[in-house]
């Protein structure tokens, strides 16, 4: 039996993460509404979770456990099985630029979807790094006394809030690109549902 591109554990963690991120982002938007950082950036109730601030806070501080537990499991799995090394490394700047050029000329090949191109690798590594910083800024906001050293990393309490907001923005942009590309090349979506891209190779 050949190895699946996305073993069951990866698929379960991927969709659990999608759920956790949906909860964290939409409840976070409601929490933000009580004291907006940027006057013009607002989130209407229709796209937020929690109803009122207290409900949103309950969702946020419940979703964080799923998010962190699932994320830890994913990192341990990725390191232990060699998946990160196999799929995400190496990222060579020259190849990265060449792939960007190909993509801009609409000549990006995706004959073998089981191997990520350098842009994909950079995006996935990048969003993992942002996710890590997001956890740190989240802890800095949650516990600015017990974890005062973390809050200090971001300047002060409001600095941590801004970092947390910018991290959210970057992740939402990533999800937008990620989901758009998955819909343009549906075999990738099939792979995350069934384990393999299927179709023509």
């Amino acid at each position: 039996m050949t190895r699946q591109m996305h073993p069951p554990a990866i698929r379960i963690m991927h969709w659990l993460n999608a759920l956790a991120m949906l909860v964290m982002v939409t409840s976070g938007w409601k929490i933000y509404e009580d004291e907006p950082l940027f006057g013009t950036v607002r989130f209407p109730d229709a796209i937020t979770l929690g109803g009122e601030a207290q409900g949103a806070l309950q969702w946020h501080y419940a979703g964080m456990w799923l998010m962190v537990a699932n994320g830890l499991a994913y990192v341990v799995y990725g390191l232990a099985t060699g998946r990160f090394r196999r799929l995400l490394l190496p990222i060579r700047p020259g190849e990265l630029l060449a792939t960007v050029r190909d993509a801009l000329r609409l000549r990006l090949g995706h004959d073998d979807l089981t191997r990520y191109n350098p842009v994909q690798k950079a995006m996935y590594v990048g969003v993992l790094a942002i996710g890590f910083v997001q956890v740190i800024s989240g802890l800095a906001i949650w516990k600015p006394v017990q974890f005062a050293e973390l809050t200090w990393l971001f300047g002060d309490f409001q600095g941590a809030r801004i970092a947390h907001f910018l991290g959210m923005t970057a992740i939402v942009l990533f999800v937008f690109v990620h989901a758009t590309l998955a819909l343009i090349v549906p075999q990738t979506l099939r792979a995350m549902l069934t384990g393999n891209p299927g179709g023509t190779r």
Partner: protein, 260 residues
Amino acid sequence: MTKPPSASRFRPARRLASLSDHGGLVAEIDRRRLLRGGFSLGALAMLTGCDVTDDDAVQRGLRAVSGWNDRVQAALFRPDKLAPTYDRAQVVRPPRFNAYYGIEDVEPVDGAAWRLELAGLIGDRRPWTLREINALPAQTWIYRHVCVEGWDYIGQWSGPNFRLFLERIGADLTAKYVAFRCADGYTGSIDMPSALHPQTILATGYADEPIADPFGYPLRLRTAVKLGFKNPKWITAIEVTNSYPGGYWEDRGFNWFSGL
């Protein structure tokens, strides 16, 4: 720079009370909201006629996790970890107002007639006058006030250390909770370890002046290790107890421990 008083959640309590007199209108608005919510992420749950968070089972689950988070925060709490402190030049004057109503609705407390009642697991439950409170040795702290809404400011608070006060009245320092009742009907409670934290005081002064009426005159709690709403103002009674006392916002779904 001070920001204008928040016009958000800390006001609606009264507005909602008057709205309940117009049940029909409210129901109509709710129906409209339901229609608008058709595009919302909670649309699926709304099809069955309820908001995700309002559903009983979901609500129970979220409250259970909130209770778990209380225990996690108690475990994370380090009794000797001091909050960062700041210079006098950084102190914001006046402090930022917040309550469950607007600043214009504050009813000043008469300091001369005011008494601090004591109840529960306390050796000497004799009430205190303001003169007696002011005779206790005071300390001054300049630390950050962080509101659950997301704003913060640096304030300078002075008054007797709360641990010293609890020892003076013979409180059972092994009890679980310290609960507060306030002149405006507000209630709150904190865990004993936070009450005994070195930076927790019964504040009577702000920026070298007596606390002004809107900010809790004559007596309020200030602690560096809790969110703002855990710092009751205009305190009229303190109880030491082992049975969970809850509080105004805690009973409305905000996390009880709310430690910083």
